[in-house]
C-alpha cells in the first residue's frame, strides 16, 4: 500500500471540519511555514520535485520562482479547481472530503508568493463543493488562519472561492483568469505569462488543487523527504482517478512508481477488470492523452514493465507511449468500441472549443461529424486518412493546448486501432464492437 500524504485520516470523524482536521495534525504545517521565510518555502517546494498535478506536470517550485515582484503591485495566487478533464475527479473528492488541506495549502502558498488576496476558482457544476469550501474558509477566518496578522505573523490574507459556469476551457490557466475577470473563457496568447501579467494585469500563479494541497505535507515532512518518495523526476504521491470497466473505481493516492499492472489488477487499487473480462485499452491521464492498447499500457515497447510515473508512461513517445496527465485513468474492457469512445471525446472537444482559433473551432466539428458518419455506416476508407489529416492540422496550431487535447485521442485511436475503424467502414457501421469481432472472427490484438 502506498503512503498517504493527502488522503490520510479520511476515516477520522469530522475531518471535513476545522476541528476534525486540526485534531489530526491540520494547520501544523501552517504554523511551521509562518516561522519560515517565504523564499525558504519556495526552496522546499523546489527540493520536493513537486510537479503540477493538473496535467502539464511543470515543476511547481520553478513556476513559483518566475513570479514577478514589481514594487507596489499586488500578486495573486489562484487555485485551479475547474476539474473538467474527462476521467478526472480527484480534486472534487479531495475538496469534498478534506477541504481544509486545500485551505491550509492556499495560505502557505500565498505566504510563499507574497499574495494577500487569493482565489479558488471552482467549476460551477460543483456548486455543492463551492459551499463546502465557503464553510471551510469561514471556519479558517474564525480560527485566525485567514484575515489580518495570521497567527501573529504580520501576514494578511483574504481567501475567496469563485464559481465558474460550465466551460472545460477555463481549466486552461489564462482562460481561467479571463473567466475570473468576468469574461468569456478565451485563452490569452503567451507571453506574457501569468507570472508576469495575470489576474487584472498583475503577477499571478495558477496551481491545481492537488498541487496546492501537496504543499502541506511538503512543509510538514520537508521537501527532501518528499522527494524520496517516487522514482526519478516523478516524486511524491499522486491522486489517480480510476474509472471505467474495473471492479473498484475511485480515487487512489499512489506513490509514483507503482507498476501499471499492479494498479489495474491489485485489490489495493482497481481490483481487476469487471466481470472477469479482458483488458482492451486504457486512457491513462484524462481524455486528452493518447489511448494505449493493453499490451502497450502494461509494458513499454521495449518490454519493460510500465510504471505510474511521468517518464515511464511517456516512454516511447506518442508512437507507443502516452502521458500521466491529470491521472484520469479510464479502463476499457474487451467489448468496448474504441471508435465510439473516441466519438464521445470528439463531441466533448467540439462542444468545449472556445472558438478563438480556426483549426480547433472548425477541426473539432469536422472530426466529430466524420466519426458520426463512420459510426452510422456511411464511412469511406479515405475518411480515416482525412481524420488523421485534420488532427495533424490542429495539433500545435492553436493558442492553447485544447487543440492538442482534441487531436491526440484521434491520432492515438487510429494509430493503435485502425482495423476497428476499417471494420466499421467495411461493415457499414456496427451495432457494437462484439459485432465487429463476430464479423471478422478476430481475436483481440
Amino acid at each position: 500500500m502506498s503512503r498517504k500524504l493527502l488522503l490520510d485520516n479520511l476515516d477520522k470523524p469530522g475531518i471535513q471540519s476545522i476541528t476534525g482536521y486540526s485534531d489530526n495534525g491540520g494547520y501544523e504545517a501552517l504554523r511551521k511555514a509562518l516561522q519560515m521565510k517565504p523564499e525558504e518555502i519556495v526552496s522546499e517546494v523546489q527540493k520536493s520535485g513537486l510537479r503540477g498535478r493538473g496535467g502539464a506536470g511543470f515543476p511547481t517550485g520553478m513556476k513559483w520562482s518566475f513570479i514577478a515582484k514589481p514594487e507596489g503591485v499586488p500578486r495573486y495566487l489562484v487555485c485551479n479547481a475547474d476539474e473538467s478533464e474527462p476521467g478526472t475527479f480527484k480534486d472534487r473528492y479531495l475538496m469534498e472530503h478534506k477541504p481544509h488541506i486545500l485551505i491550509e495549502g492556499m495560505i502557505i502558498s500565498s505566504f510563499a508568493l507574497g499574495a494577500n488576496t487569493s482565489y479558488i476558482y471552482i467549476r460551477g457544476e460543483m456548486m455543492y463543493v463551492f459551499h463546502i469550501l465557503q464553510k471551510a474558509i469561514d471556519e479558517a477566518y474564525a480560527a485566525g488562519y485567514l484575515g489580518k496578522n495570521i497567527l501573529g505573523s504580520g501576514f494578511n490574507l483574504d481567501l475567496h472561492v469563485h464559481c465558474g459556469a460550465g466551460a472545460y476551457i477555463c481549466g486552461e490557466e489564462t482562460a481561467l483568469i479571463e473567466s475570473l475577470e468576468g469574461k468569456r473563457g478565451n485563452p490569452r496568447i503567451k507571453p506574457p505569462f501569468p507570472a508576469v501579467k495575470g489576474l487584472w494585469g498583475c503577477p499571478t500563479v495558477v496551481n491545481n488543487v492537488e498541487t496546492i494541497a501537496a504543499v502541506v505535507p511538503i512543509i510538514k515532512i520537508t521537501g527532501e523527504e518528499y522527494a524520496k518518495i517516487g522514482i526519478g523526476k516523478s516524486t511524491g504521491t499522486k491522486l489517480i482517478s480510476a474509472s471505467g470497466h474495473i471492479n473498484k473505481p475511485g480515487v487512489y493516492e499512489i506513490e509514483l512508481g507503482v507498476p501499471v499492472e499492479e494498479f489495474i489488477y491489485s485489490d489495493a487499487y482497481c481490483g481487476g477488470i469487471k466481470n472477469g473480462k479482458q483488458l482492451k485499452a486504457v486512457v491513462a491521464g484524462g481524455s486528452s492523452v493518447p489511448v494505449l492498447p493493453a499490451h502497450l499500457i502494461l509494458k513499454t515497447a521495449a518490454g519493460e514493465p510500465r510504471l505510474m510515473t511521468y517518464e515511464s508512461l511517456a516512454d516511447g513517445g506518442f508512437a507507443t507511449g502516452t502521458m500521466l496527465g491529470s491521472g484520469g485513468f479510464i479502463v476499457m474492457d474487451e467489448d468496448t468500441s474504441v471508435v465510439k469512445n473516441l466519438w464521445t471525446f470528439a463531441h466533448f472537444y467540439n462542444h468545449e472549443s472556445c472558438g478563438q482559433c480556426s483549426p480547433c473551432r472548425e477541426g473539432t466539428g469536422w472530426m466529430y461529424r466524420i466519426l458520426n458518419k463512420i459510426l452510422n455506416g456511411k464511412g469511406e476508407m479515405k475518411d480515416i486518412d482525412l481524420l488523421w489529416n485534420i488532427q495533424g492540422n490542429i495539433e500545435g496550431k492553436t493558442i492553447c493546448p485544447l487543440g492538442d487535447a482534441a487531436a491526440w485521442p484521434v491520432a492515438s485511436s487510429i494509430r493503435h486501432f485502425r482495423s476497428e475503424f476499417e471494420a466499421y467502414i467495411n461493415n457499414h457501421g456496427m451495432k457494437d464492437v462484439k459485432h465487429y469481432y463476430r464479423l471478422n472472427n478476430l481475436q483481440e490484438a
Binding site: 474527462p86 456548486m127 455543492y128 469563485h162 468576468g182 482517478s241 471505467g244 470497466h245 469512445n341
Partner: protein, 180 residues
C-alpha cells in the same frame, strides 16, 4: 439598462450579491458576473431573460453586451425557459462506458421527450452534458446542485418521482442558499 420594475433581487439575494462584489478589488466588480448570474437564475425562474441580464448589467455597472457575451459562452446558463427540474445527464466517455446512453434513452421514454426538450407540464427538461467529474461513480446525472451517482434505471425512477411529487424548482445555486 433595465427599466423593468418587476425584476429585482430579493433583499437576501441583494445582500449576498453585494458581499460577492466586495471579494474583488475596487473597480473590478465585473469579476462577480458569473456568481451573480447563477444567483439570478435561482431568483428568476431558472433562466436568464434579456431583461434579467440587463438588470445584472445595471447592478455591476457594465454594458448589457458584456453580460450577453458571457452568459451565452457558459453552458450552465439557460438562454430560454427550462422545466422546474433540469435533468443533466453526463454523456462523456467514462459515463458512456458505464451506460449513460441507456439512462438517457430511459428518461426520454419515461418522460416522452427527447434530450433538449421540456415536458408539456413544464416539470422536466432533459439535457445531456459533458463530463461532470464523477467518472468513478458513473453513470451519473445532476439535478440542481445534487450529483446523483452510480445510477440504475430504478434509481432514476425514484429520483424523478420524488421531484415530480415535490414539484419545486431546482437550480444550480439552490434558492435556499441565496442568503448573505
Amino acid at each position: 439598462m433595465s427599466t423593468n420594475k418587476n425584476i429585482q433581487f430579493s433583499d437576501d439575494a441583494m445582500a449576498l450579491v453585494q458581499k460577492i462584489i466586495n471579494r474583488y478589488p475596487e473597480g473590478k466588480q465585473k469579476s462577480a458576473l458569473l456568481p451573480i448570474l447563477h444567483i439570478a437564475q435561482a431568483e428568476f425562474d431558472g433562466w436568464l431573460s434579456p431583461e434579467v441580464m440587463d438588470y445584472v448589467a445595471s447592478l455591476l455597472k457594465i454594458q448589457s453586451i458584456e453580460v450577453y457575451e458571457v452568459a451565452t459562452f457558459y453552458s450552465m446558463f439557460n438562454m430560454k425557459p427550462v422545466g422546474k427540474c433540469l435533468i443533466e445527464v453526463c454523456r462523456t466517455g467514462p459515463c458512456w462506458l458505464m451506460g449513460a446512453e441507456d439512462v438517457v434513452r430511459y428518461i426520454e421514454k419515461k418522460l416522452g421527450i427527447k434530450a433538449g426538450e421540456t415536458t408539456a407540464d413544464g416539470m422536466f427538461t432533459l439535457k445531456t452534458v459533458e463530463c461532470l467529474a464523477s467518472c468513478g461513480t458513473a453513470p451519473m446525472m445532476q439535478i440542481g446542485e445534487t450529483y446523483h451517482e452510480n445510477l440504475t434505471l430504478e434509481k432514476v425512477d425514484d429520483i424523478l418521482n420524488d421531484h415530480k411529487n415535490q414539484g419545486n424548482r431546482r437550480t444550480h445555486w439552490e434558492k435556499d442558499k441565496v442568503k448573505p
